[in-house]
Amino acid sequence: MTTTETPPTGAVPAAEKKNWRTSGGVRGWFGRQHWAVRTVLALVFAAVAYLLPYAGDVPVLGPQIITEGIDWPSALFNMSYYVLLALGLNVVVGFAGLLDLGYVGFFAVGAYTVAMLTSPDSVLHTEWPWLAAIPVALAIAMLSGLILGWPTLRLRGDYLAIVTLGFAEIIRIFATSSETLRGDRGFSDIPHPPGSYADGKPIFGVADATPYYWLGLSVIILVIFGVRNLDRSRVGRSWLAIREDEEAAEIMGVRTIKYKLWAFAIGAFIGGLGGVMFAGQQGFMNSQTFILQFSILVLAGVVMGGSGNLFGAILGGALISYIPDRLRGIEDPIFHTDLFGFRFAIFGLVIIAIMIFRPQGLIPSRRRAMELKDREKEVAPQ
């Protein structure tokens, strides 16, 4: 991740140059480092991420990280689309401050579009390759974001949350009951991404999920670049201004409806991308995939990681996928069953603990942290 800072204007003393950097997009410690340091750190981080499928081979530490008995590359791939979803939801909730409880809806739109266009089970009988379906799926996901956004963005806070919740449920119920979307029977034989090795074996096969993880990781890196560019521009400022004081923002010339719609559309686009990846790896999907829990889980990840912070969202998204998986094969001392059965209870406890001890999230956005501090002050009489 190279960082290109605008060359500062000449007249400003060096002390102030530094200040802008913290006000950039990726906040906090990382943002204050010299660009070369940041580049090296980012490259190291990316390299480690790409090597994660081999984490099991690392002596001592390796076995602690991976979960025994599950397919580690598959777990990593699952993490990658959770991270993707968290990144997308972070744009909507973290940046623009629009509470979207139905984010899984866009994931579903992306996945179902791919399934409809590629699966032999589809009534369309198009049976496109996976790659060809992507642009259509993303366009439709984005469009669904606009369609949902247009009538609802005049709502605020809780009301918006309820409508988005309804949206996701409508999609799920429609998928369950509609003959076209095949309900529980779902779609099978969704093609995998293209490409084959020299010996003719496909790169994206069924046996090894590692290439899928790498693909997911690459997509994530692209998305990070895109979202970061947006965050550090007038778009990010507009979103933040809307979150802080919508009316004042509009009076200062911000086209609030336009930018809220963009937030929704971009969120939907990234969510759809997650769906596309998911469909391409699984090869099969049905309406059970898109339960409400999923939306809540991703939202929990964003909040837990640090709403409004890219790295926070990434960490949160990874954890919501990793923690439940990690519990597999661990026996609880009381009932002697697999802890995986208690995953949501444990997960809930973890979230409660984080909310008590670190309410701004694990890697907070500098701003959110201050908002919370301020609220504390309001509660505690001075």
């Binding site: 290109t4 605008t6 204007t9 007249a11 400003v12 102030e16 530094k18 200040n19 802008w20 913290t22 006000s23 895109g226 560019n229 947006l230 550090r232 521009s233 007038r234 778009v235 990010g236 400022r237 507009s238 933040l240 201004a241 802080e244 004081d245 009316e247 004042a248 923002a249 509009e250 009076i251 200062m252 010339g253 911000v254 086209r255 609030t256 336009k258 963009w262 971009i266 701003r367 959110r368 201050m370 908002e371 301020d374």
Partner: protein
């Protein structure tokens, strides 16, 4: 609307009887002694025209057939006791409220029913009575939001970092720093705006409003809560703004401040205009003295 001294509607009507010529023969702009004359041609043209505006909230008449007009290049005062409808008038002018009847024309064009951001881009900027900054954004970012109002590139430009977007960001940042310098808080550019002192926040709001390139700047009680020394500085700033060619509309409580800086004044009470004229004229107007100033000795 709780007023210190209530009057009957009859009295109010009588108070409003002062004839007002909306078109106002141009001539010289009334100004207090010692003020520099404006460079020719700029003054005199009507910039904003409030034309028989009435605004009701249910049964409450917040503005009752108010008419006045602002000329280019002047500092115009809108005064009146608490609840007289000054801020309501502001809100009608900036698109927050829509007048029940009557028209508002800015540079000859009606702005009634226009969206708030359209009005801002059209050239009317404002500050708020209670400071409404974006508290978690830095001072610089706050001003840049205002500067963004006239930028063309948006999501696509930002996403791919197109050269034009790049230029706009750079120009916006430089302009914003310039404005922070202009209002005297450039040292705080990188500070989150909630951490600024009250006076700095007020100045920042002015800088943010100026960043939208306004033709008309509306300041809603900019001196509220200021010490006398700060007020003097603010007067300087307002004059400086006017000297850059921006027309200033000032809502103010502090008579001394208003009298010192404005070219013309409109006095509102209970949503009605009761007087209009130069500070000297308004100061001596018995209706104003009776309705607003209470006792004459306060009028200085």
């Amino acid at each position: 609307m709780s007023e210190p001294h209530m009057e009957t509607p009859q009295e109010l009507d009588a108070a409003n009887a002062r004839p007002v010529d909306r078109a106002m023969p141009t001539g010289t702009v009334g100004r207090s002694v010692g003020e520099p004359e404006l460079s020719g041609g700029r003054s005199g043209d009507v910039l904003l025209e409030v034309d028989h505006v009435t605004l009701r909230f249910g049964g409450v008449v917040a503005l009752n057939d108010v008419s006045f007009s602002l000329r280019k290049g002047e500092i115009f005062g809108l005064i009146g006791p608490n609840g007289a409808g000054k801020t309501t008038c502001f809100n009608a002018m900036t698109g927050v409220y829509r007048p029940t009847s009557g028209g508002i024309r800015f540079q000859g064009e009606s702005i009634v029913g226009k969206k708030k951001h359209e009005i801002t881009r059209g050239g009317i900027a404002r500050t708020f009575q209670n400071v409404r900054l974006f508290p978690e954004m830095t001072a610089l970012e706050n001003v840049m939001v205002g500067a963004d109002a006239h930028h063309k590139t948006s999501v696509v430009g930002a996403l791919f970092r197109l050269p034009r977007h790049w230029q706009e960001e750079k120009a916006g940042r430089e302009k914003s720093l310039e404005l922070l310098r202009f209002v005297g808080i450039e040292r705080r550019a990188g500070e989150v705006s909630r951490n600024l002192s009250y006076g700095e926040q007020r100045r920042l709001e002015i800088a943010r409003a100026l960043a939208t390139n306004p033709t008309l700047l509306c300041l809603d009680e900019p001196a509220a809560g200021f010490t006398p020394a700060e007020k003097v500085e603010l007067l300087e700033l307002i004059r400086k703004i006017r000297d850059t060619g921006v027309t200033v509309l000032l809502i103010e409580h502090d008579m001394r401040l208003v009298m010192g800086v404005t070219d013309r004044i409109v006095v509102l009470e209970f949503g009605k205009k009761i007087a209009e004229g130069t500070p000297a004229e308004v100061r001596d107007d018995p209706k104003v003295i009776a309705a607003y100033l209470g006792v004459p000795t306060d009028a200085a």
